[in-house]
Every structure is written in C-alpha cells, then in structure tokens.
Symmetry: C2
Subunit: 401 residues, 2 copies
C-alpha cells in the first residue's frame, strides 16, 4: 500500500511536470452537469423528475431553420468557409444591428464563431494577458472566470446580491478596481440572474471603464429573450466595447454551435488571425441555415417562444416569492430565476441535493455561478413546460412547508 501510494505520488509529480495542470487550478466542472446526470439516473430508476436545471430552451430549433440546413446539405455546402464566417450571414447581422439598435457596423467588425463559447475563446486570447485583472460579478457565468484563469489572469470577483439586481454600479466597480485591472466582463441579460442593465447604468459603467482604461466586454447572448422594452446593446453606447452573442438562445440553435463577436475596428485583424488558428471556420451549412433565422416566419416562431417564456416567468416568479425565496425586482430576460434561499439554507449544494433526491426537482446550486455568495442561491430555469413547472412548484412548496 505504501509503495503504491509512493508510486502514485511519483506519477502525479511527473504528470504535473509534463502537463499544464497548474493552470487548471480554480477551474471547476459545472455542478449543473452533476445535477443533470443524477437526474437522468433517477429517471432510469423510474422516478418522475422536474427539470429546472438546463440552460437551454426546451424547444427544438425552428422548422424553417432546420429545412434551410437540409437544403444546404443537399446543395453540398459542407466545406470550410472563411474563418470569420460567410459574408451573407455577417451581412444579415449588419442589418440586425441596424434594425434593432440603429447601428451601422461594417461587416468586418462582426465575426461568426463556434458558439458564444468560441467567441469568448477568441476574445480571451485577444484581451487577456497573464497577471492582468478582470472584474466579474459574483455570480456570473462560470466560463468567464475559468477563461480568465486559464489565461493566467486574475478573476476579480465582485460579490453582488439580489438587492442590487446583480448588476454593478460604478461605485462598486471603483471599489474593486486595482492597479492591474485591465478589463470588465458583464452580461445583460445576465445568466444566472436574468437581470438587464438599464441604459443609464450601462452608460455609467461604460464611462467608468473608459476612465479606468479597462476594456469592456458585454455578453449579449440573451438579447432577444428579454421582457423589457429597452434592451440596449453596449455598442449603441460604446463603439470600442467587445460583444459576444449567440444563435443559441433567442434563435434557439444551441446544438448548432454558432455565435458571433463584434470587435472594434483596430482589433479586426488580430481577431481574424485568432479565428483562423483556433477554429479554421464555423460550420458551413449551420451558417447557411442561420440565414433563415432572419426570415419573418422564423421570427414569428421566436416571438411565440418568447411569449411562452414570459408566461412561465410570470408564474414562477410569483410562486417562488410566495414560497419565501428572494428574487430580483423583475426577471427581465433569459429563462432563469436566481433565488436567494437563505431563509431555508446556507448550503445551496445540500439544498439542491435534497430537492432532487427527496422531491424530484432538479435545480442548480448557486455555487456554479458565485464563488463568494453562491451558497445562498439556486438557479431555477424555466426551460420546461407549464405543466412540469407547476408540478415543480408544488413539490417545492411541500418541501419547504
């Protein structure tokens, strides 16, 4: 046993020398996957599980888009494209920014990427260097801090709660700024929080970043899936900002791995070089299919789905509040309720385990999103139909009675 322990220790140290393992410190697996896998296991045992853990719409991609993909496949559009994507799709986004945001972006500033994930990978290489600091809210999408840490930079976490609607004020930013702070990454609407940064606050944040000499990256992945009238892009306010967006959420194309980034003029060449090196090109026929996402028939499907999400939100927010959970003033976008559960528990992982094992409700512990205050929160996704949502609420009510 002794010898085996020694040998194992020896292997580890050799592995550490040969591999880059140290860079993975602080990069965690997503707990939502553990919930998802355990829920599937319970289902195989015959249990009925209410799924409120998944971060994707419970709808298949619109038929219009799937049919367009089939036409592209029939036409043999199966080869590499240009690294930043096909001109037609980039031009469709030019029109999108013109119509939705009154912006005139040159095509060159828009690069199609392999999901928002691929876009973030390009931007992290473009923006980060070892030792730099990046301000992030805690909670936020865990990939941000993980990408920052993989680059050898520091994730400067700003704990923020439901009282502040999870979106930072300039005063909060200033309090967390350090000499090595080089950037600020935010999301609006937020994941897991569902809150939108109002236009005035976005302008204040942008001014603060400019004054602080920090780059500003806005994740606008949940744009379109918003339930407020004014949903500004940071590009309306700050043309020097970096934007990541996705065809996954509003456009309902998760499994297609298609997103985009917008970069300032002076970063176009570097972003293209990175796109070539990291990915060669996005999927060809997926891009041709995504063109169809801008057709009125597709838009109609998206708007119906948005209405369905809104109805679920209305229901869930009211019920969860009635149960005693603390929610933001309003869930303004995305499809998540990020609820403070501190009246019930200060250990969200134990809470989620209990809800799943004893009550058959799969929800995600806040520790996926917040390293500092995650244990006070859970994320409940309304990516399941009303019937199951009601069953889930009923089960939660019984559990918390």
């Amino acid at each position: 046993m002794h010898q085996r322990t020694r040998r194992k220790a020896g292997m580890d140290s050799s592995a550490n020398r040969r591999h880059g393992a140290t860079r993975l410190r602080g990069v965690n697996p997503f707990r939502v996957m553990l919930v998802f896998n355990r829920a599937a296991e319970l289902e195989r045992q015959g249990r009925k599980i209410v799924h409120m853990e998944a971060g994707e719409p419970d709808f298949a991609t619109a038929g219009t888009i799937r049919e367009a993909a089939k036409r592209a496949l029939d036409a043999g559009l199966t080869q590499y494209t240009q690294a930043p994507g096909i001109p037609e799709l980039r031009d469709a986004l030019v029109v999108h920014y013109r119509e939705r945001h009154g912006l005139e972006l040159p095509r060159e500033r828009i690069l199609i990427t392999l999901g928002a994930s691929g876009g973030l990978a390009i931007l992290s290489h473009l923006l980060l260097r070892p030792g730099a600091g990046v301000l992030l809210t805690d909670p936020s999408y865990p990939c941000y801090r993980n990408l920052v840490r993989l680059a050898g930079a520091e994730a400067q976490l700003m704990p923020i709660g439901v009282e502040e609607d999870f979106q930072p004020s300039p005063a909060l930013l200033e309090r967390h700024r350090r000499n090595h702070t080089a950037g600020l990454w935010l999301a609006s609407p937020g994941n897991p929080t569902g809150t939108v940064i109002p236009r005035r606050q976005l302008r204040e944040i942008s001014d603060w970043a400019d004054a602080a000499g920090a780059h500003l990256l806005l994740d606008e992945t949940y744009h379109g899936l918003h339930y407020v009238d004014d949903m500004p892009s940071i590009l309306e306010i700050n043309p020097g900002a970096f934007v990541v967006n996705s065809f996954s959420k509003y456009f309902g194309m998760t499994g297609w791995r298609l997103g985009w980034i917008v970069v300032p003029e002076d970063q176009v060449e570097a972003a293209n070089i990175l796109a070539q090196n990291l990915f060669i090109s996005p999927s060809s026929f997926a891009q041709h299919a995504a063109l169809e996402a801008f057709a009125p028939a597709s838009r109609e499907v998206f708007e119906q789905r948005r209405a369905a999400f809104r109805e679920r939100r209305d229901y869930l927010a009211a019920e969860l509040s009635a149960l005693g959970m603390l929610l933001p003033r309003e869930i303004q976008g995305a499809f998540y309720a990020y609820a403070n559960i501190s009246v019930f528990s200060h250990d969200s992982e134990a809470f989620c385990t209990q809800m799943l094992e004893e009550h058959g409700v799969a929800i995600t512990p806040g520790t996926d999103f917040g390293e500092i205050n995650g244990n006070e929160y859970v994320r409940m996704a309304f990516t399941t139909g009303m019937e199951d949502l009601k069953l889930g609420v009923e089960r939660l009510r019984r559990a918390l009675a």
Copy 2:
C-alpha cells in the same frame, strides 16, 4: 497632423495596455488565405486558376452522412449534447480503434471536439504552461506553434528537410532538447509534408519522449488518407500519449467541425472540464450524422476517394520530380506535395506570387509551415481533379522551363 499622430500613438499604447496584444506576437495569418483570396479575385477578372492551395478534399461530404444529418434534423436533435460528445459516437470510435489498431480504449478516454482545432485548443490548455518548451518540426501545421505561443510557451522549432522525410530522429530531438522542454508535438501523416513516421521510428520517438519526461502529442488527422500498409496510431505504442484526430479529412466532413481527442486515463477529468468550459458541446446533429461515417456504404465512398487521391499523388509526384523539384522519398499520406524549390528560388512567397499572377497556379508558400526553411519550399495540394492537375503541371512546366 502632428496632433493626430500623437493622439493615434496614445490610443495604441492605451490599447496595448488594455488588450492582450503582446500574446499575439509571432502568431501570423495563414498565407494560404491570401493566396486563396487573390485567386478568387483573379477568377472574378475572368482568369482560369488551377487551385492547388486548399487544405480540404474537393468532394462534398458523402451523401450517406448528409442524409443522416437530415434525419437527425427532422428528429429535432438540435440541442446541446454532453460536453465530450454523444456516447454512441464515442463508442463508434472505440470500435474504430479496436478494428483498425487492435486497441481497447475505454469510452471515457475519447472526447468528441469541435474539429481537430477544438481538440488542439483543449490539449493546449491541458498540456502547456507559460515558459515551457514544446518541440515542433519546422515545417509543421502553423496552428501548433501559434497555440504554443498563445499559451505563453516556447515553440522549439527543429528545422528538418526533405532529405529526412521531414520526420525527426531521436538524435534530432535530443539535439534540440532544453531544460524547459516539456513536450513534443508531431503529425503523421504530416501536413504539409505527407510523410508517415514508420512504426520503428515512432517507437524510438516515444521512448525518447518518455526518457526525456516530455509529453507526446500526435496529430493523426490524416489517418485513413494514407497510402502505406502500416499506419500505426501512437496509442498502439504509448498509451500515455495524447492524440488529436478529425472527421474532416478521411471522413470528408470539413465544414461540420467535428474531431476527437484521446487522452490518458488520468487526464480525462481535466479534459472534460476544459471541454465544458471552452465549448459546452460539439454540434448535436453533426455527431449523429458522423455515426453514419462508420457504415459500410460510407466507407466505400471514402475508399473510392482515397484511390482518387492516390492516383493524383502518383501523377503529381512523378511530374514535379521531373520538373526538378525535390520531394520526400514517398508521399505516404494526406494530399500534399511539399516540394523543395531551391533550384528555382530561395523566396517561396515571391515564387508563389509569380506562379499565381503570371501562370494562374495557386500554390502555398512554405513560409506558412516553416519559419526557418519555409522559403525553400512550396505546398501543392492535390485537392483538385486530374484534369486541372494536368493543366497546373503544364503551366508549371512552362513557367520553369
């Protein structure tokens, strides 16, 4: 004017402070894209161009696979999958390694990735740390050195020529090893060289890496597209090696962005965490379609195409040698002739420009692949039909007469 210059300089320095630009030093755009774009421009002017620059098969994806994708789309398989891919496809690769290589790999060691590119991105995060050295042949696929440099590691380039068939001996490796050398990345069959590392040499290399305490990464992307009888995977020799592979080349699925990696048992968890964080998941229906790549009807198509590539190779190798270019002993895999042109020129970029502008033949300068000796070489891809290949050779003959 003065003031404007000053302001611009000020902006640049501020941009450098805020962005990670320094990490991009030594990361170049692919010159093949310049050739490709200029060729397209000349075609728009009415010129007939012979395309020998493209690094992808000139065939659309097999109809069997495209039909399978359409069925998956009809079935609504458009959502995220597990981060390392669907179990069915990983199991198909388990069978693939069993049948092709006599190996029993547990499914867990195989992760489906967003192209070989996505696989290399995961492996670079897994294996590299700032300051480490990675041995690479010069020439090699430019992404290797670019990914190494993006990680803040050092690309330790080993110049190697057509005389050595472009594949290193242990003596060469030993000559280039330094104290900080942590890894060795090779490709067999090679891009741009088309040469295969023979089994005996592969074993010597593997032994050398083990003794040197260096990790060993083999890019086996061009496996299947080989024209020799014995095409070993490094995994037959060294179960601790890291492998990247792709559905793009032999399976003809470039535009689908689907590849895979194989990692040692003790790296499975870290690789999964990286896959989650970097990509969420590969395309869902692309994976379902790729299952069809293992059906006999698809295999038949691939083998017909391999025969076509072999025929082109036979023709092109003989003709280029007759023209006075120096080629490796045998082009044993992939679809490239990497030719030494030093009897004609020591400036491959000027040579390629001349061939394109004056003679309408698009070929890629060796400077994309070799930083040290690239100016003595050009890459000619036989990814175009025999008729055009013959026209290309005829034009080269006239140009070099």
